[in-house]
């Protein structure tokens, strides 16, 4: 079974802090995604990576950056956390562009105070 893990289930940070959210997948998948989940809005794509060191902006990249130095790991970075970034963050991976099934991690609930 594909396993996608996220470094923290719950995280509390202060406004202005730099925040790192880590995601690791164990199936040698090429594509990885970061989504933000808010009530009533569903999932919105922040960034995705189609290969190591390759990334593309999603629908809501402002205030976020990403890093993918190794195939199995995709990090989401909040350079200066703000209260409007309080949300659930979901990571997903997918084998490649010809495979449409995404496998999701359990999520990180981030609270910025």
């Amino acid at each position: 079974d594909v396993k996608v893990t996220q470094s923290s289930r719950y995280l509390v940070k202060r406004t202005g802090e730099k925040v790192f959210l880590e995601c690791v997948q164990d199936m040698d998948h090429e594509n990885m995604f970061w989504y933000r989940q808010d009530p009533g809005l569903g999932l919105r794509l922040i960034y995705f990576s189609y290969d190591v060191k390759m990334k593309e902006k999603g629908d809501i990249p402002e205030g976020y950056s990403v890093s993918r130095e190794k195939k199995e790991r995709f990090s989401l970075i909040l350079e200066s956390a703000s209260t409007n970034q309080t949300s659930m963050y979901l990571c997903a991976s997918r084998a490649g562009s010809s495979s449409y099934e995404q496998y999701f991690g359990p999520g990180t609930r981030l609270t910025v105070t």
Binding site: V4, R9, N31, Y35, G40, L41, G42, L43, R44, L45, F48, Y50, E56, G58, D59, L90, A92, S97, Y100, E101, Q102, F104, G105, P106, G107
Partner: protein, 113 residues
């Protein structure tokens, strides 16, 4: 613009009753369609997907969905709901070629004993 609507924010059914969750989409081309389920505190799990062919697709956990092109709909059904089906359900649409998916806002299902 691509969009997915799920008209019902919250549905409550009795255990053993039938279920239908609605999904409508707006898309410029023939999309790939998905239903995901999210149990409390968990990531999203793929229930079923439609790419082409038979418009009635079967998924896991006894769910099925029907693609109706004329109505731009992809409704999810289950003939007899179990208490363990209580969760949030997301409809999603994606392109035949590309990376971006659009998720609906979700429908929360409660099951009465």
């Amino acid at each position: 613009a691509q969009s997915v609507t799920q008209p019902d924010i919250h549905i409550t059914v009795s255990e053993g009753a039938s279920l239908e969750l609605r999904c409508n989409y707006s898309y410029g081309a023939t999309p790939y369609l998905f239903w995901y389920v999210q149990s409390p505190g968990q990531g999203l799990q793929l229930l079923l997907k439609y790419f082409s062919g038979d418009t009635l697709v079967q998924g896991i956990k006894g769910f099925e969905a029907e693609f109706k092109r004329s109505q731009s709909s992809f409704n999810l059904r289950k003939p007899s709901v179990h208490w363990s089906d209580a969760a949030e359900y997301f409809c999603a649409v994606g392109p035949r070629w590309g990376q971006n998916f659009v998720f609906g806002p979700g429908t929360r299902l409660s099951v009465l004993p």
